[in-house]
Amino acid sequence: MSGQGIEIIINALMLSSMYILVASGFALVLNIMGILNFAHGALYMVGGYVCYQLGVIYGINLWLSLLLAAAAMALFGLFLERFCFRPFYGDFFNSTIVSIALILIFQTTVNLTMGDHVRSLPPFVAGMFKHGGVSISWDRLATGAIGVGLLGILTLYIRKSKMGQQMLAVAQDSVGAELQGIRIHRVAAIAMGLGCALATVAGSFMGAIFDLTPFMGDLILVRVIQLVILSGIGSIGGVLIGGLVIGALDSILPLYVTPSIAQTLGLAVVIAVLLIRPRGLFGREVG
């Protein structure tokens, strides 16, 4: 295989793993609370900026500031779940516009305080990897590896731990889960915190590879919704496959056609899948 082919595959994997990291938090919140959290993209953006603030402006070690930012955003997620989303479980209309209000607040705050010029995190791992015809930055390789690693840990956590099993139970049937003595609010809060932390990690890595902008969340939000809906609501494992499809489309199509045609084709694929399988690839009926 040519060097360029390998680069494309590595880029596709890297993008996919980042999309899936953000999407798994989004899917957990959607499945457990029945809330379509449009603010998840904005949380990803805020996470990237928090990491920037700690690592670049306060000069803390970049890896440490990534951990600190993830922890801070997880706490913030607990706060959001308690005060913004808990009153609206299963209330699609009101929870949707609460999340829109949150987007407005986050974007405006970041735009007013730090959005005056383009910022970017320094690469987490410097240098380029060169071997044969392949030339790719170590940062992208590390991002892909860490993304895949985190996804493995997340899958293990959901499949093996008690809390993960409780999350699956609530996602399947929240009333039944509550009758079995599962504290669904606590499960939801942990899912929200976990989702925010994962979004922060993805936001920081993407902020190092691309730029940080107050509106970077919008783009990833669309991708995340695409892949969660493609894989189907109610399926957490399906997100992995949906993510690979969307990541591959997103890294391969722009090489051959203009960005707007690529975008149209990507959307057409998702619409076509949904019209053939109205509940997504692995999903169930909702509401």
């Binding site: 449009f38 407005l104 669309v222």
Partner: protein, 321 residues
């Protein structure tokens, strides 16, 4: 007698008192230009009319339980269709506006059939992707629609003054609201509400979900296409950024904040959420905070939107007396 029947059926044919309120509002708005001096206030009123039409037609679709996230994209079909016919084919705007609206309806009905297969969140998401698809198609054909700078040189409806536009859009709003009101209270509208409550029960008594949802989509999109076409000829410059996902989401916010359960909700919601930020436009960069604050206050204090405030005040005064 008539009132009694409407009670029994469990939905409100708009009572006579409410009809008088709408009429009074229309008369006041018709007399308002006597007092208005600045061009800017005309501009704000005209835009408010356009968005009231769009939000109300969105609610027609929502009575069947489906929240469309591409309503602004449908608006753009009407706007660009009418603008292209008027500018490049040289037809009169008075002819192209209904044609643009018809074109919007045709597109809406065509995609309505496949889209009627999906419900609730899935419908919202499919329509979201469709709306984004329309925007990207628009970008692909940037040669005709003018790239990000927008499409310029659209023939205006009236020369110079804004006053005829004001009356034109007031009339258009009255016409659209009348159509939507009639649609909601006729048999089709009742069937749509039945589908919203339970599509299974509705199907079991012989209501075809697909048929009624497609009809609702067609009517709703005809009206919004008309609003879009009128907007294009008023503004004479249109850019796809005014019809993107954010614009669709704003329509949904206007509708839900106003109150999705009643006909007047979208009107009140648009009037408040669209006009208030304009009053504070000196603080331009802070207006999103104002907008977000209104949303949060309404969502936390008035679950059913601003229109529920009237009922609350009434029940308070009854209790205290």
């Amino acid at each position: 007698m008539e009132r009694n029947m409407s009670h029994q059926r469990g939905f409100s044919i708009v009572p006579r008192r409410q009809a008088y309120a709408y009429l009074a509002g229309l008369v006041i708005l018709a007399l308002l230009p006597v007092f208005m001096k600045t061009l800017y206030s005309y501009h704000i009123f005209i835009l408010t009319f356009v968005y009231i039409i769009a939000t109300s037609s969105l609610r027609t679709l929502a009575t069947s339980g489906q929240i469309s996230m591409c309503h602004a994209a449908f608006m753009s079909i009407g706007a660009y269709g009418s603008a292209l016919l008027a500018r490049d084919a040289g037809w009169s705007p008075w002819l192209t506006m209904p044609l643009g609206a018809l074109g919007t309806m045709v597109v809406a009905v065509l995609i309505g059939f496949p889209f009627a297969r999906v419900r609730a969140i899935y419908f919202s998401m499919v329509s979201l992707f469709f709306g984004m698809g329309i925007i990207s198609v628009n970008q692909i054909f940037g040669k005709y629609t003018g790239h990000i700078g927008g499409m310029i040189g659209i023939p205006p409806l009236f020369a110079s003054s804004k006053v005829p536009y004001y009356y034109f859009f007031l009339g258009l709003t009255a016409f659209s609201l009348l159509v939507l009101w009639r649609f909601e209270t006729c048999r089709i509208g009742v069937c749509l509400k039945a589908i919203n409550q339970s599509h299974e029960v509705a199907a079991s008594v012989g209501i075809s979900e697909m048929k009624f949802r497609v009809v609702a989509q067609g009517v709703s999109c005809f009206i919004v296409g008309l609003a879009g076409a009128g907007y294009a000829h008023y503004n004479t410059v249109i850019s796809y950024s005014s019809f993107d996902l954010l614009a669709s989401i704003y329509l949904i916010v206007y509708m839900i904040v106003g109150g999705i359960g009643s006909f007047g909700g979208p009107i009140i919601g648009t009037a408040i959420l669209f006009v208030l930020p304009e009053l504070f436009r000196g603080l331009k960069e802070f207006t999103p905070y104002l907008f977000a604050t209104i949303i949060l206050v309404v969502v936390f204090l008035m679950r059913d939107g601003i229109v529920s405030l009237g009922g609350k005040i009434k029940s308070l005064s009854v209790r205290s007396s």
